[in-house]
């Protein structure tokens, strides 16, 4: 087990001048860093200071969305959080619906919850895969990415795209559930339950993983709250907080699920909590599939504005077409905020409109950007080989952090 040499408070301001320390640049072209450069000051094998240099994938999503119509921000917001696109789309549309004063019908809310939970499972599997390759086990990477494929097939049946769905629009969703979807989903969930048992032996209970992750990157409850960490990393430190329970959206009020939390806040707990959350998401999907209400998938106001050709297409092929006003939506002046619990944590949205075609202020914060204190404060004092363990356990996705 590795002991902490420095505590959290004085972590970032240790002066590293002088030639006692080696400075390693774990740069963007490094198998252990993803799209960012981590400047690490090493004293022997102990990490003394970490300075993450991010912004390599800063695609100016806020600046662009302030120069385009409201509907065009959906694909931009999705491309930023690629492993978890439905939650980006859902958080933007929930906030936009509050600005427009729209309300999605119950069937659309259930479809949104269904898509969100399937995407949460694929996002957690993506995180487990990356965590596996950072610890060196290519089998877990292959298994996790292989087991993502049945869920991606489900979303392909539902929405027609592999990852970037653009499935949720203001007022409802774009496609209804195809016929064979329910049986296919039950088969996939059954397959996943069997596979989770195999993960236990190779990954969760693997002695090498246990020795690499227990008591590594420990962040206790008070520091987790003080540093504003977010998502499963927060619940792994014992804080009972989940936006789906505390600020419910879509159909999460009438779906009962349990929020798993652990106490020790180290890399091993963050690993366990992701497996627990996959089980919870599978439970939610079963409930949503069981009591999915009938009815329209777009709200009344938009349905009335469809022209006859579009109405015929909607009745035949259950595909929502856009009425003409989608191209230039003009909400009344005012502002709205919205929060959604994505796979990696909580997305926060703040929209302000001045009555024009373009949003006046389009501000959103993604979970990975709020997990940055893990590098500067928590990774200090452990060894160099612990940095990939902490980086993987936090499930940090740089394009999402750079927005």
């Amino acid at each position: 087990m590795s002991e902490r040499v420095y505590n959290i408070e004085e972590a970032p301001n240790i002066d590293v001048s002088g030639d006692r320390y080696i400075m390693l640049q774990i740069g963007p072209s490094h198998p252990g860093s993803g799209h960012m450069r981590i400047k690490v000051w090493l004293d022997g094998d102990i990490v003394v200071k970490v300075d993450p240099d991010i912004g390599f994938v800063h695609r100016t999503s806020e600046w662009l969305s302030e120069r385009r119509e409201f509907i065009k921000a959906i694909p931009i917001v999705e491309r930023i959080m690629l492993p978890d696109t439905i939650h980006a789309n859902l958080s933007y549309i929930t906030t936009l619906e509050r600005l427009l004063g729209l309300e999605a019908p119950p069937r659309a809310q259930y479809l949104r919850t269904l898509a969100a939970e399937i995407n949460r499972i694929t996002s957690h599997l993506y995180g487990i895969g990356i965590f596996g390759i950072f610890l060196g086990s290519s089998t877990v990477y292959m298994w996790a990415f292989g087991d993502r494929e049945p869920f991606i097939d489900l979303m392909e049946m539902l929405t027609g795209a592999r990852i970037t769905y653009s499935y949720i629009i203001p007022g409802g969703v774009r496609w209804d559930m195809p016929k064979g979807f329910k049986e296919r989903a039950e088969k996939v969930l059954e397959y996943m339950e069997k596979r989770l048992k195999d993960y236990d032996d190779i990954w969760v209970k693997n002695p090498v993983v246990q020795s690499r992750c227990v008591n590594v990157g420990v962040i206790d409850k008070t520091n987790a709250i003080r540093l504003g960490v977010v998502g499963p990393n927060l619940r792994a430190s014992g804080v009972y907080y989940d936006t789906r329970k505390h600020d419910p959206y879509a159909a999460y009020q009438n779906v009962d699920f349990e929020v798993p939390t652990f106490k020790n806040g180290d890399a091993y707990d963050r690993l366990l909590i992701r497996v627990e959350e996959i089980k919870q998401s599978m439970k939610i999907i079963k409930q949503v599939l069981k009591d999915m209400p009938e009815g329209k998938i777009i709200d009344e106001g938009t349905y009335k504005q469809l022209n006859p050709v579009m109405k015929k297409v909607y009745d035949e092929r259950a595909r929502v077409m856009f009425p003409a006003f989608y191209n230039h939506m003009r909400p009344q002046p005012g502002e709205a905020t919205g929060r959604v619990e994505a796979g990696r944590g909580e997305i926060f949205f703040y929209l302000r409109s001045d009555g024009g075609k373009y949003p006046y202020r389009f501000r959103w914060v993604t979970p990975s950007f709020r997990n940055l204190p893990f590098f500067t404060h928590v990774a200090v004092g452990y060894r160099l080989a612990d940095l990939p363990a902490i980086y993987g356990s936090v499930d940090y996705f740089p394009p999402e952090a750079d927005r």
């Binding site: 694909p75 795209a161 996939v188 195999d198 009972y240 297409v313 003409a324």
Partner: protein, 178 residues
């Protein structure tokens, strides 16, 4: 919200862990459960509403350029055309008739979100189900209107069409498409 009980975690004894891990690895070594799609030899048959490459139905389109306005990456440009009696459109000077516009998609910028499909008042876009094209230089992926009208052809037409189905014993298996 009640404070839900924090879960306890059980660490497994290392020796047992080593044996179980090696046993599981060996089980997967001998079990016949590959999930690989041998791509050039077999290709996936995708669901009907898959968003791949698409073309426009020349007769149905009324040239209202709504698709050009809503396309988020502005990949659609409207080409001025002339509509002759037979409904076909011909380039600018080639015939007389009503002057109209037709959309052309620049594949290099299109993000396949199908917003143009959904805003088109006459539903004139035709999906083609082809999803795996690649190009050598940038002139190829900016088609002219005539090239854009021809539906793109499958690169591997004679490959076996399969559909994936998860099954408990063999992992994710593939069966010939119905």
């Amino acid at each position: 919200m009640s404070e839900s009980s924090a879960k306890e975690r059980k660490l497994r004894n290392p020796i047992v862990g080593h044996i179980r891990a090696l046993a599981k690895g060996f089980k997967y070594l001998v079990e016949p459960n590959r999930m690989t799609l041998d791509y050039p030899a077999e290709t996936m048959k995708l669901p009907p509403n898959y968003r791949g490459f698409f073309t426009v139905d020349d007769k149905k389109c009324i040239g209202c350029s709504m698709c050009e306005m809503i396309c988020p990456p502005q990949a659609i440009t409207m080409i001025p055309r002339v509509q002759v009696q037979s409904g076909q459109t011909v380039p600018e000077g080639a015939g007389q008739g009503k002057k109209t516009k037709r959309p052309v998609v620049n594949w290099g910028r299109c993000i396949y979100c199908y917003f143009c499909f959904d805003i088109c008042p006459v539903d004139a876009f035709v999906p083609s189900g082809v999803h795996d094209l690649a190009f050598y230089n940038d002139k190829d992926y900016r088609p002219s209107y005539e090239e854009y009208l021809k539906p793109p052809e499958e690169p591997y037409k004679n490959s076996k069409k399969v559909v994936s189905r998860p099954d408990l014993k063999r992992g994710v298996g593939y069966e010939p498409a119905p």
